[in-house]
Symmetry: C2
Subunit: 196 residues, 2 copies
């Protein structure tokens, strides 16, 4: 059985795992630039996201190999999808509310969504946004209020702001003080992480 190299390391791994939010996820839908994907994974690690969904159908799958912030990649699991319906149905069956970034009439600013609920947030391609297929499957939309002349944010910036707002709400609700994983799940993850 693999073990953490030191007790300090083991304590650190356990502390981080106890703060992981198993019911908060991002769906990266055809995000093009690997730098953006890397930056998003780094933010995921920082705000306690344990796993993201990578939905790639019309964009090259991002090569995260040699990026400087690649280390965050080690600590954020990735599940690959190519079928929108299956992915969305699976997330809904597991109790997730699904929100997509967008500006439709149903869109609400991020503080108006309860992000303490099990939540998966879909982020779309840098140029084309979220596809109409995914948008039809995820009609509830979330947006970051923008006060400027340029009506857009970098996708990795948008991801971080949304994750921070989720963190803020969840921290206020005490959700980082209690593990979201079961004792058995934590033990399995700890063994796995210590072996990395």
């Amino acid at each position: 059985m693999p073990e953490c190299r030191t007790e300090d390391r083991k304590t650190r791994v356990r502390q981080v795992l106890e703060r992981r939010q198993k019911d908060l996820r991002l769906v990266l839908a055809n995000i093009h630039d690997p730098h953006n994907v890397s930056a998003i994974l780094r933010s995921c690690d920082a705000f306690g996201i344990n796993e993201v969904d990578l939905f790639y159908t019309d964009t090259a799958f991002p090569n995260l190999g040699a990026k400087s912030s690649a280390s965050a990649r080690k600590w954020v699991a990735r599940r690959r999808h190519t079928d929108a319906q299956t992915m969305v149905a699976d997330l809904r069956a597991r109790g997730f509310q699904l929100l997509s970034t967008g500006f439709s009439e149903r869109a609400r600013p991020l503080t108006r969504w309860d992000l303490t609920r099990p939540t998966a947030i879909v982020l779309g391609n840098e140029h084309r946004g979220v596809s109409s297929e995914l948008e039809a499957l995820v009609p509830d939309q979330i947006f970051i209020p923008m006060m400027g002349m340029v009506q857009s944010l970098n996708v990795s910036v948008a991801a971080a702001v949304i994750l921070y707002e989720a963190f803020r709400q969840r921290e206020a609700a005490g959700m980082y003080a209690v593990p979201s994983f079961s004792a058995a799940e934590l033990e399995a993850l700890e063994r796995d992480w210590c072996a990395r």
Copy 2:
């Protein structure tokens, strides 16, 4: 006298200017990567920052010329500095509380600072952080809580999260509903912006 090309444009410029927060600034201190500086300016525009301080002493001044998000550059004024003491003394004389990103004993998480006060936030170099000279001049520190294995965020992500928190506090206080510039300042800025 230059005029906006259309009435719509004029309305838009006026609306954005009325939301600009003249008493909220960032100091970009020797940030190396022009992509990061561009992304930060884009976030500044989005959250209503009208002017940033560019403090460059040991890093090449960023060339923002041909970047894709260069358009935000048009709407965020930049003041260049090379002397830390003069810059800090000037900001303090104008009533700004100065906060630097960092993790000293005096550091507090971003929600624990009152960002509705006139505030300037110093962001440092990607690798070296804020220099010891600037740190000595700006002992009050602000940080983003991080729950992960990797103890850092991309600097443009950190800037956006801090600006979003300032936006959130200021919006709750009604500060985006009332212009921070005087009528005369707004008129001068409107003429200037319409000519761009």
